[in-house]
Assembly symmetry: C2
Homo-oligomer: 235 residues x 2
């Protein structure tokens, strides 16, 4: 690849999918009031992987207008950032991997468009990754039914009640069930994406990228001091 | 404050500055090829603080066009995100705190506009915070001369040679010298901003926000396994 520096090369084994190809086509949903780090933790690990693999990213929203981290319920906030979508829920291309962040916007009525999108595209995905209360979007789309999953620990009660058909796991940094990877709150998005990269692109690649981000990964998916902090038990 | 939920209230003591006010007006510089997590780690901690304090954020760039994480030197990259600036280097309002991220774009000739901006506004700031190779921008602006500072450990050699007048500290997650907070690579932006929040807004506030992000802070500024990984010694 012309973009690759030999010293940045992928050193780990690449695990191919059932159809023999590694996932290259990523999408992320954004909506007003998404939590910035939920999105940019995983995205920046993948930004760095994209220096050595020809990954594609679609940033998917209701419209192509910039999407702010400002929660719709708190319009007076003057500290927020806006990201530019590349596709809408109706123009999004086929995806291998869909990432769903959380945030206060997940409780806004407009989140229904994201829920409908997830329900529609999930069958065509190779993998689904949720961060924080993004698992509530996946849960409401029905794609977590019968699966083990986790979510944000501060908002635990309000998420698990959305969908009792999900086997909610309280003490987990992240949970893998089939092709669905769900993680705990906000910064857990970094750990789940490194876990995903280790599984799909190889442990050496995950470690190289984590060192690049100077991030000390939590590699134990059951590590969760925040479940303990909030005194949670499985539902 | 009307935006505050009582349960989200600031519980820690607020330390006022010399002029008796706490810093509320933040700015961040962005440029093509900025590293996403360098920016969005600190910003998301502050986004969360802004739910209980009336913080303002200016996103400052060369123009008001969206600014991509795509490095100018790698135009073929198809995995990147764009953030929308609110001000240019000529329209930026007075700031209490300026945040400077790093990234591959710091080696592009166009970074000179950011360097000139930092040199110009530094005297009016209460605090300067740099993340990763963002310290190279501050160094080239001359504002780190005679100060202790740190930077990204993977790019260590290329940064420290930019400005020998800086007292570069190799083994550090972050370094504070006067009103300048410099941090190590990428994810170190989270630890430096929580250290800053603890110092300026109170330890209890920092801990509350870190728990909100489900982030286990590195609270020891000398913690740095990445300096060891790269076998670094102070210049």
């Amino acid at each position: 690849m012309s973009m690759a520096n030999p010293s940045d090369g992928v050193k780990g084994p690449l695990t191919s999918d059932q159809d023999g190809s590694i996932p290259l086509n990523f999408g992320i949903i954004v909506f007003p009031g998404f939590q910035a780090l939920d999105a940019f933790g995983p995205l920046d690990a993948l930004n760095t992987l994209a220096f050595t693999l020809p990954l594609n990213l679609s940033i998917i929203a209701a419209t192509l207008d910039p999407v702010s981290t400002k929660p719709p319920s708190i319009p007076e906030i003057k500290f927020h950032q806006s990201i530019v979508p590349t596709h809408t829920f109706t123009t999004a291309p086929p995806l291998d991997v869909l990432i769903i962040p959380g945030g206060r916007g997940t409780v806004d009525p407009s989140i229904q468009f994201a829920i409908d999108f997830v329900a529609r595209v999930y069958p065509s995905l190779k993998y689904l990754i949720t961060v924080c209360t993004g698992s509530g979007i996946a849960a409401r789309a029905g794609v977590l039914d019968g699966r083990r999953a986790t979510t944000n620990k501060l908002r635990w009660a309000s998420i698990v009640e959305l969908r009792p058909q999900v086997k909610w796991i309280s003490h987990a940094r992240w949970v893998v069930d089939g092709n669905v990877w769900t993680s705990a709150g906000v910064s857990a998005g970094l750990d789940v994406v490194f876990g995903f990269i280790a599984e799909v692109y190889g442990e050496q690649t995950a470690e190289r990228l984590a060192n690049h981000l100077e991030y000390k990964r939590h590699t134990d998916p059951s590590w969760d001091p925040f479940a303990e902090l909030h005194g949670l038990t499985d539902s």
